[in-house]
């Protein structure tokens, strides 16, 4: 399998403190890798390490199959990036900023600027200065700059910051298009679980500078199976009935009234019928699924912002 990025025990220490600690991550070619973690977890630092803005204290990075050295720069022509907040030359117009970017990247296409501004939903702003833009517009312009040269690998740090719901939706669609049509590999960070959940193929969860989980979206979904949640006033008797009459061992008593039953082979109707026959009062019984949000909140204490 081809990897765009592989890191081994990547560590960055600032003033004796490990900001990134022993991170071993793998980003496969052609996937969208969602980087999930609370603010200050080390997401941006890892992105800076990948683009050589900062140098690792320990460990190594392999990017496009080549080990990254402190003076590597050629590989950057294959990367588009937006790290931390959108930065521009404030005295140059939006168009001049993009023109300058293309000139430095060695990319020459007259039509590209108009196309890319259309793509990110910025119209009639070419001759305006970025300092007059709202945060959302700056964010869009920064994404435009990152994708204008159609790089193979796109690094986007919190790209939906400051966007309105319609803008978020459009941006999500854009990322999918770039991934599917152009085969771009994307590394997208966010502290918003719902956002990552909708687009990522692989998720890396980072907390306190450590990568605490790296797994495919599919395997995470498979792990979070369905369960039946039973609310009853007679929780002790219900538990006994489940065990003795129905032979279910895989259940969990959540609180005084709630029981979660994880036995997928026993139909819900059979459970309710047996409980009623045993004269147990059922307040409610329903099928549920652990949301990814619950799953990740367990993993990290995240800001539970839902877009």
């Amino acid at each position: 399998m081809d990897y765009v990025v592989q890191t081994r025990n990547l560590t960055k220490t600032f003033q004796g403190h490990d900001v990134v600690s022993n991170v071993t991550m793998n980003i496969r070619q052609g996937e969208i890798y969602g980087f999930l973690g609370p603010n200050g977890a080390g997401k941006s630092t890892i992105m800076k390490l990948l683009t050589n803005m900062i140098k690792p204290s320990h460990g190594e990075v392999t990017i496009f199959g080549e080990p990254l050295k402190h003076d590597s720069f050629d590989y950057l022509k294959r990367i588009g990036s937006m790290i931390e907040y959108p930065i521009f030359y404030e005295k140059l117009t939006a168009r001049e900023n993009l023109e300058l970017h293309c000139a430095y990247m060695g990319y020459h296409s007259k039509q590209a600027i108009r196309d890319v501004l259309d793509r990110v939903g910025l119209e009639n702003v070419e001759n305006k200065l970025p300092k007059d833009f709202s945060l959302g517009m700056r964010q869009r312009l920064c994404v435009a700059r990152a994708i204008i040269t159609k790089p193979e690998f796109l690094i986007l740090d919190e790209p939906i910051n400051g966007l309105d719901p319609a803008g978020i939706k459009a941006m999500r669609k854009l990322f999918k298009t770039l991934n599917q049509e152009y085969g771009m590999t994307l590394l997208i960070s966010s502290h918003i679980i719902g956002e990552i959940e909708q687009i990522a193929d692989t998720i890396g969860v980072i907390k306190g500078g450590k990568l605490i989980e790296e797994a495919s979206m599919e395997s995470i979904k498979a792990r979070n199976k369905e369960y039946i949640e039973l609310v009853t006033s007679n929780q002790k008797k219900a538990a006994m009935v489940l065990h003795d009459k129905l032979g279910i061992n895989n259940f969990k008593v959540v609180d005084d009234q709630t029981i979660r039953i994880y036995a997928a082979d026993v139909p819900q109707s059979a459970i309710s019928k047996t409980l009623i026959l045993e004269d147990i009062n059922i307040e409610s019984i329903e099928k549920k699924r652990t949301t990814l949000e619950e799953y990740f909140v367990k993993k990290v204490e995240l800001d539970q912002v839902v877009s």
Binding site: F14, K48, T51, N52, M53, I54, K55, H70, D71, F73, D74, Y75, L76, K77, I79, S81, I83, I87, F88, Y89, E90, K91, L92, L100, H101, A103, Y104, M105, G106
Partner: protein, 232 residues
Amino acid sequence: MFHLIRLESKKFKLGWFVKGTILANIIILSILCIIPVVEKSEGTEMLKDVTGVFTISGAGVRGVFIVFAAVLISKMIIQEFRNRTMFIMFSYPINRKKILSAKLILIVLMTFIAMTISHIVVIFSFIGLNQIFHFTSAMSLTSSDVLAEIIKIIMFSLTTAVAALVPLYFGMRNYSTPATIISSLLIVSVTCQSMGPNFSLAGIIYIPLALAIIALGIVVLAIRKIDRIDLN
């Protein structure tokens, strides 16, 4: 490299530098015209011959452009770090050493050209105006004098333009614009001082020459270090 230098000049829109140069020339020339008038009333005459004019105008021109160079260093290097636009620059597939070199070459070139042209313009304007308004005793120049003066001007301008990079060291320590400008004033004080008709630091080429050598050392260190800088 030429391409990078061109992009740098495009990026920073250097029209202000040209305007500033013209304004500086007018001011230096005005001061030069006032000095003999004031001196006449005091009884000491410094601007009585071409050498005097050369020294005083040279001190003025070089002083101004050492500070201009510091402003360029600040705008093109220090501010790029402070405003974090260096993030953009270092995300390009271009050797960081080349990026920094292009900036420094542009700064030296602009400073050198502005210094040389300004000095020539100021001297010849003064001599011309003196023939009309007689600020001081008449001055005559032969063509060999002119050639010798111009070669001298170029020598001084070149060494001073390189010496004007010394503030880079102070500026880069904390990416500080004030440190850059203030250190340039120190360079001005040692290279452009004139203490009366008989002694003037401004006439000694070894001072800017020594500073230019120090500046080259600073530049070499900065370029060697640039690959290891963490942009955080």
